[in-house]
């Protein structure tokens, strides 16, 4: 960034390289956005035409019918929204606080247990019990099967995010901690009032990772919630709609419709749009911090 360039005359190869770069980047950008356009177009299409002609790049027979089906009996989808939003907001705030606290403590040079505890946390990435033993432990011994807590708690922290935060906290000069000590503030006080505000880019980065984790969660839900909760987290709800005909029918439960009435193809796509929308709108607000955040954290984390 901020690199100054002397202006030199553009030779033939230079123009060619620039041209290729622009073309490739534009192509790649199109490839990145095209699937989104496909999904959105499909969600605004008329089911009958889709069944005859198939999905296309542009909406066929533009209509809001699929969306009106999604919200016809809004209890299910709104319930899912409520579950996911609650989990995302609470999980991100709580997780962020705990991770920042741990990350800060773990890099304090005067903390005797920093290496021991760092390894204690890091070891969990080296060796894990695996899916089945963890599942049996959490569902049978912690008795969390069918509880939102099973999902909420397991996504709260991760070793990588703690290491990322620790590396960020390292870049805050130790003098600040020392000045706090001079003034007689305790470690917790120093963290809250002096360090925490300085970790802003790190908080944005780790916070976005946490929020993404919660918002895009479907896997833990499939293990621990299954069909035992009425309102499934949003992505798990979408997962079911896409993969099982029953869930599709259930999504409009009470509508007294036969399956053939349902615009199943376009309804799937509309649900996908509804389930994904909000997290994409969050991104531009944190982009500035996020890019610098992953750059710092990438190699060592």
């Amino acid at each position: 960034m901020g690199k100054k360039r002397t202006k030199i005359k553009l030779g033939g190869s230079s123009v060619a390289l620039k041209l290729i770069s622009y073309v490739v980047v534009i192509l790649f950008t199109i490839i990145c956005i095209l699937p989104f356009i496909l999904i959105v177009s499909a969600s605004f299409s008329t089911e009958v035409i889709i069944n005859k002609e198939g999905f296309g790049l542009l909406p066929k027979g533009p209509t809001l019918s699929a969306y009106s089906w999604v919200f016809r009996y809004p209890k299910m989808i709104l319930g899912s929204y409520a579950v996911t939003i609650t989990m995302t907001v609470c999980g991100t705030i709580l997780g962020l606080f705990l991770i920042a606290m741990t990350g800060y403590a773990l890099q304090r040079k005067d903390f005797r247990f920093r290496n021991l505890l760092s390894f204690f946390i890091y070891f969990t990435t080296l060796f894990s019990a695996g899916m089945a033993p963890t599942f049996i432990w959490v569902s049978r011994y912690l008795n969390l099967r069918g509880s939102y807590l099973a999902v909420f708690l397991q996504l709260l922290m991760s070793p990588w995010l703690i290491i990322l935060m620790k590396n960020f906290a390292k870049s805050v000069p130790y003098e600040i901690t020392e000045s706090g000590k001079m003034d007689g503030a305790g470690d917790f006080r120093i963290f809250i009032s002096l360090i925490f505000p300085m970790l802003k880019p790190a908080l944005a980065t780790v916070g976005l990772f946490l929020a993404l984790g919660y918002w895009n969660e479907w896997y833990q839900s499939s293990l621990y919630l299954g069909s035992s909760v009425t309102y499934k987290p949003l992505q798990y709800y979408l997962y079911n709609i896409i993969n099982t005909a029953n869930a599709l029918r259930g999504s409009v439960a009470g509508a007294n419709v036969t399956f053939t009435d349902l615009p199943s193809n376009t309804l799937k796509m509309a649900t996908a749009v509804v389930a994904t929308g909000p997290i994409i709108f969050l991104y531009p607000f944190v982009q500035k911090y996020f890019i610098s955040g992953i750059t710092i954290g990438a190699v060592k984390g």
Partner: protein, 322 residues
């Protein structure tokens, strides 16, 4: 006299310091320890407590008898996995996919970063970067929905195009040979924009004096890339590569499961360790075999991380994880 007294005190303090009792150390670090406590509890409860459960891999687990009540069968579960050829197939698929992901992924990321660097227009850079990040933000479930939208037999975009061109639609969801390409494409689609940022940052970090000197000396663009940019990316590349190799036994479960799921026609080319473990557990209720595969993966993965970390340490100790 006074002077020697302080000296005396100073000395005793030095002698005393290492003798601090554990209790005293704990007390001195009390607040910092308390600050770590939630994380410690978290990892004990969710990561350390399940560890004894790997014993399931050596039992014929049933729900009624529980982990330690179920009959012990020794290495029978592993024997079965090896004899049926399943373990080999899963390992092969997982490792091969990851190799392609790592090599192709890093090459594409470097190429994209170099091209981004050629672009001068600020707003263009910003807009394209924002869009390239989009795929990273969506869930694997949505990727499953997108592939369904494109590839399904009746209404898929691809078959729509084929029909319009007068061809016969193809049943992509039963053609195992095609799926490695689809899966690799999806992985690249989701990760390239995100991954290139790291390389892009390394390029931006190159001393502009060197680049200018090269330009003054009449270096062509290709020479600039070949002799300045690529060598400067080498450390990042090597480190990322080695870390990725450490994780070569771990697959991207969400992507594979949402693309393939329970579609057994595709398993020969698409089944990786994670999907098999999940399916054994969820569809077949076979916790014992599932645990055996998981344990095999953990041990193998552990050894690989150790090796890759050792290699990183030899190249640049600063980057080593421990």
């Amino acid at each position: 006299m006074k002077n020697s007294n302080t000296k005396q005190q100073y000395k005793t303090e030095i002698v005393k310091a290492p003798k601090k009792s554990l209790w005293k150390i704990l007390k001195d670090n009390k607040t910092l320890l308390l600050m770590c406590l939630p994380a410690i509890i978290f990892f004990i409860v969710f990561n350390y407590c399940p560890l004894p459960g790997v014993y399931i891999a050596f039992t014929n687990y049933n729900f009624r008898d529980g982990i330690f009540g179920s009959p012990f069968v020794g290495f029978k579960n592993f024997e079965f996995l090896i004899k049926s050829g399943q373990l080999w197939n899963l390992t092969k698929n997982t490792v091969l996919y990851n190799l392609v992901f790592i090599i192709l992924g890093n090459v594409l990321q470097v190429a994209l970063a170099i091209m981004m660097n050629e672009i001068r227009s600020k707003w263009f850079k910003k807009v394209s970067q924002t869009i390239m990040f989009l795929p990273y933000f969506i869930s694997a479930v949505l990727i499953g929905a997108i592939t369904f939208n494109i590839f399904n037999y009746d209404t898929g975009v691809l078959n729509t195009i084929i029909r319009e061109a007068g061809g016969n639609p193809i049943k992509i969801y039963s053609m195992a040979g095609l799926w490695p390409f689809i899966i690799i494409f999806c992985q690249m689609w989701q990760q390239t924009g995100y991954g290139s940022v790291v390389y892009f940052a390394s390029i931006c970090g190159i001393d502009s004096g060197i680049v200018e000197a090269a330009e003054v000396d009449g270096a062509t663009n290709w020479q600039r890339i070949r002799y300045i940019i690529l060598p400067s990316l080498k450390p990042t590349f090597v480190i990322l590569l080695l870390f990725a190799l450490g994780g070569i036994m771990r697959g991207n479960f969400g992507l594979f499961w949402n693309l393939v799921g329970n579609n057994s026609q595709l398993f020969a080319t698409t089944d990786i360790i994670e999907t098999a473990v999940y399916r054994m557990m969820m569809s077949q209720n076979n916790f014992a075999t599932s645990s055996a595969v998981g344990l095999y993966q953990s041990i193998f993965g552990f050894v690989l991380v150790m090796i890759s970390n050792w290699l990183v340490k030899r190249i640049d100790p600063n980057y080593a994880l421990f």
